[in-house]
Amino acid sequence: MDTLLKLDDFTMHYRTKAGWVQAVDGVTLSLARGQALGLVGESGCGKTSVAMSIMKLLPYNSKVVRGRILFEDRDIYSMSDEEVRRMRWKGIAMIFQAAMNSLNPVYRVGNQIVEAIVTHEPETSEREARERVASLFELVGIPKERVDHYPHEYSGGMKQRAVIAMALACNPKLVIADEPTTALDVIVQDKILREIDQIRRKINMSMIYISHDVSVIAEVSDVVAVMYAGKLVEMGPADNVFKKPRHPYTCGLMMAYPSILGDKHELATIPGEPPNLLDPPAGCRFHPRCDRASVECREADPVWRAVAEGHYTACHNPVEITGTWSEAVKALNGGERLGASSNA
């Protein structure tokens, strides 16, 4: 497999008045060319921090504690500023969580995209760049005559689409989409996600989707990584993870959102709150909220290990689902604990 991006035990903390926020802790993952990875987790678990680390756009109060990020086998934290600048947008582009605000209010939308193209491809003339912007607008479904409008003349959905068009402008090898559709209604959300997915397949681009909503991730990702309190707790092929989730947190997330597999189940939230990352719990960070927690979970940090081909988890007492997920959910609604049989 041709690896495009690799995070190797990447750990990043923020310095605040109250102490160090352990926002990203020992994240290890790799992404192949053309692959789509979904990064899912509750709000505040560090998803955006991971994305910003990959873009090398961390704020001044951040510190990379250990680990590396390799893009095309080069450590981006040892690249010069100029090399990083050239890698951005041409190599890795990003659709920001605050897509609405990522357009400069005093420049015409088209110009902001043309600017990115001519910066990275000096051989392209401004006219060619304009033509490309027109075709990008067509691709994301914005009327062409809107190219020369200002951002405030766009609707929210159009801004979102413009930002997507902007991310695709330089044919990047990887696009990180941080909650690209949260500001939109569900129908438009779905449509845009499918559109991005189609474009991705067409030009064999890699993608990292970030969302707190498993159903969004499930639709478009090849690989899923579940994050909790700055750590990865489970990762594997989307089919595996969603059919046979192993980490209790993954199960909890899947119960909390409308089903992706079509079966109806009652929505159940995970009890408790995500921990404060200034002082995360010892042992497994999820143990205070986990109904399967044992003494071991409170004391020892679970190791990251393979549970199936390409499927990893970090849990002392992984869930064992024997039947289908829907059966397990039904059983659960009947009062049993998930995969109770496997866990004496």
């Binding site: 600048r85 605000n101 990522s102 400069n104 209010p105 005093v106 990115a116 910066t119 401004e126 200002y150």
Partner: protein, 392 residues
């Protein structure tokens, strides 16, 4: 946009009428009236006194007098100066106005630009040595006592180093038997300077307009700019104007520098503050993510939106230039509007004082009007009467 402008223009005219009314009644209320000297003088025969009263229009009621004043003002009839008798007020003002205008416009544009440039650099390098250094230096000048600072500069550069002329508008000895009158040379200077400025603007606009700035176009722009300046200088040299132009220009250097030094910190700190906010904006982060060079992110993204509030400060500084003008023109004996206002008030020269005050008001109103237009051009989000100020 047009409707907005017309509306605004209407407001300007209305404000102007209110202003000159105030000026009129304020001066009326001032004690000591030059006409009393003649009208109450028993040695002037009764018939002559009545004749004089009629000539001055004092036989009519207050309302009639006021209406006459308004009518005369709007037909450009400002009367004849008492202290410069028999020169018409209009003439005097027209001679003085360009001098004040050129001096202060130069100083304010320079100080604004310097403040803008420094502000954007120190905001970008917040907390670094440049930030502290520029802030300390700027505030030192900002809080300095203005007349003292001018005296110090005059003492250093004119008296001790003898690099620049002490004061005044020209060096009288040089102009003895000069082939051109001062005002003509000054006129050439203003028009020529204006033409060069427009030329430079057009050149830079033509070559550096696009989003793509090739090195070749940048070089071309600078070359053409130098060519324009060289041609202008050559023309001035050939016509023999250059020495005289240089004389006036060198007399401007000290007052312009003093004004700039004392006021650039205002724009600088405002720009710094405003930009410290915009650097946090998501679109600045997005611009960085796009891999744009650092200076472009700074100039086109962070500084561009941050400059909007500073435009107001530019106008306010223009507005205050009249009061500052009085001090500057006195310190440097610069024969401008401020000086004439001062002298005419001392000399009880009502027509001239009224005219000078009225002109100051017109000046300010125009400045505010220009600021509104500038705002509309700089910020496409501003809409007037429901329509974007700048089309599409």
């Amino acid at each position: 946009m047009r409707r907005y402008l017309l509306n605004r223009l209407g407001q300007v005219v209305l404000t102007l009428i209110i202003y000159i009314t105030l000026v009129y009644f304020l001066l009326q209320a001032m004690p000591g009236d030059i006409t009393q000297m003649y009208l109450a003088n028993p040695r002037i025969p009764q018939a002559a006194r009545e004749e004089l009263q009629k000539q001055l229009g004092l036989d009519q009621g207050v309302v009639m007098q006021y209406l006459n004043y308004l009518k005369n003002f709007f037909s450009g009839e400002l009367g004849v100066s008492f202290s410069h008798y028999p020169r018409p007020v209009w003439d005097i003002l027209m001679e003085r106005l360009p001098r004040t205008f050129v001096l202060f416009l130069t100083a304010h544009v320079l100080s604004f630009y310097l403040g803008y440039l420094l502000g954007r650099i120190i905001a970008w390098r917040r907390g670094k040595v440049v930030d502290y250094a520029a802030t300390v230096v700027g505030i030192t000048f900002w809080t300095a006592f203005y007349p003292l600072l001018s005296l110090v500069l005059i003492w250093v550069f004119a008296y001790t180093l003898k690099l620049l002329p002490l004061n005044q508008f020209i060096e009288p000895r040089l102009w003895q038997g000069a082939p051109f009158p001062t005002n003509t040379v000054f006129g050439y200077m203003v028009y020529g300077g204006g033409a060069v400025a427009v030329g430079l603007f057009l050149v830079f606009y033509a070559f550096l307009r696009g989003l793509k700035r090739s090195r070749r176009n940048t070089a071309r722009a600078w070359l053409s700019a130098f060519a324009i300046i060289a041609v202008a200088l050559a023309v001035a040299w050939r016509t023999g104007l250059l020495v005289y132009i240089w004389d006036i220009a060198s007399h401007m250097i000290l007052p312009v520098c003093t004004l700039t030094l004392i006021s650039f910190a205002g724009t600088m700190l405002l720009m710094r503050d405003s930009m410290l906010e915009t650097v946090q904006e998501d679109y600045v982060m997005a611009a960085r993510a796009k891999g744009l060079p650092d200076t472009i992110v700074r100039d086109r993204y962070a500084a561009r939106t941050a400059m909007l509030p500073t435009v107001t400060s530019l106008v306010l500084s223009l507005a205050s230039s009249m009061s500052g003008g009085l001090v500057t023109e006195t310190m440097f004996s610069w024969p401008g509007l401020g000086q004439i206002l001062f002298h005419s008030a001392l000399a009880n020269d009502y027509p001239l004082a009224t005219g000078a005050l009225a002109f100051t008001g017109v000046f300010l109103l125009i400045a505010h009007f220009v600021a509104d237009i500038l705002y509309a051009v700089l910020d496409p989000r501003i809409t007037y009467a429901g329509q974007p100020a700048v089309e599409g």
